[in-house]
Amino acid sequence: MPDHVHAEGHEDHADLPSDVALRVKSLESLLVDKGLVDRAALDALVDIYEHKVGPRNGARVVARAWVDPAYKGRLLANGTAAIGELGYSGNQGADIRVVENTAKVHNLVVCTLCSCYPWPVLGLPPAWYKSAPYRSRAVIDPRGVLLELGTELPSDIEVRVWDSTAEQRYLVLPERPAGTEHLGEDALAALVTRDAMIGVVKLMPPQKGVRG
């Protein structure tokens, strides 16, 4: 077993300096006193990603692509514009590219250098996505990463890893699970998970429960 070097996982909170919250509080009061930030603006910024923008946006995009072939075509050709049709756009999403999982291709998204992620459709990235174990191994051993998270890929499938280190952000269009032919767009969106849109899990048919 490899040694467990401290990951950025938040289970390590006991190791953080106990004064980190105080440092941030002190910084906030300094910036307010200096006229650099407005406290109400900070509240509003926190509210966006806690309550308004998150993976439900991406799920709506995926469900629309599943039921509307013309939309899917536009989505794969110009992700940003097609996502904008549903009203989603903004910071960390100037150029979003959507990559499609098929019976022959599985896509996985990572940012090895930092934490690039398509905020308008998925919100802020989860802690594990920003952790050293995920960032380091996703490019060299994507099949091992998927297996660790519960999905074994067939050996004949092509794995494409998108290391989004620069200006492009990536969203995986998962395969529509079997047995969902009768479901409408809302019910389909409810099946789509954040982690399937990052590409670390596959969506399961509804009767077997949904992983991710």
Binding site: P2, D15, L30, A44, A94, L113, L149, T165, A166
Partner: protein, 218 residues
């Protein structure tokens, strides 16, 4: 910079701390530091990007720190480098004597609008593309001590231009306010075997977005 942040391809970092669900911010202070970073960035007064100060954190510290602790370092260094605060003020949590109060704090409405606005690093400029889709290219072997988005694991490796994304601001200089150097950005496909040898599956690949300045003909 060949720092610990450039960790693609490393092994022995331990199991992935996977959680199926988790709060957006695990602690209140995480949300506050994220919000302060964007509120200050939104004023347009920062002359240094988010990532260079994080990448300058020594390796041991970087791995010990949580993600948003690195943001504390980053926004602090960015504000100091941009003459918005002094280190004494940070230490004391109070404005220096005689410091003039700024008048450009973003209003809540402007702060929210900035988050929903598409940031523009794309440039509609007639810059010639040096490479075409389908062409074989090699990632240059460069080792700058400053910010770069060419990870170590791809340097010197050959790949194929899969798509031309168009013209973008060159992050390696723009994060330091040292010029935009607009140039083409390409999606480049590297076969997993080219990067990692025979242990990789022959059909697998890694795609990286590469600026013109990162590439040479192969």
């Amino acid at each position: 910079m060949n720092g610990i942040h450039d960790m693609g391809g490393m092994q022995d970092m331990g199991p992935i701390p996977y959680a199926k669900t988790e709060p957006v911010f695990h602690e209140v202070w995480e949300g506050r530091i994220y919000a302060m970073s964007y509120a200050v960035q939104g004023t347009g007064k920062l002359r240094l990007g988010l990532r260079p100060p994080m990448e300058a954190i020594p390796a041991g510290e970087y791995l010990r720190m949580s993600y948003y602790e690195r943001w504390i370092t980053s926004i602090t260094e960015r504000m100091v480098a941009s003459d918005l605060v002094t280190r004494t003020e940070i230490e004391r949590g109070q404005p220096d004597k005689g410091s003039v109060k700024a008048t450009f704090a973003l209003s809540p409405a402007d702060a929210v609008a900035a988050q929903f606005k598409i940031p523009a690093t794309r440039r509609d400029l007639p810059v010639a593309a040096r490479f075409q889709p389908g062409q074989t290219v090699r990632a240059r072997n460069i080792n700058p001590v400053t910010h770069t988005r060419l990870p170590r694991y791809a340097r010197g490796k050959s790949g194929t231009i899969e798509r031309d994304h168009g013209v973008f601001v060159f992050s390696d200089t723009s994060v330091y306010s040292r010029g935009e150097k607009p140039q083409h950005l390409y999606s480049v496909r590297f076969s997993a075997r080219e990067l990692w040898g025979d242990q990789a599956a022959p059909q697998d690949a890694v795609y990286l977005d590469m600026f013109d300045d990162y590439l040479e003909p192969a």
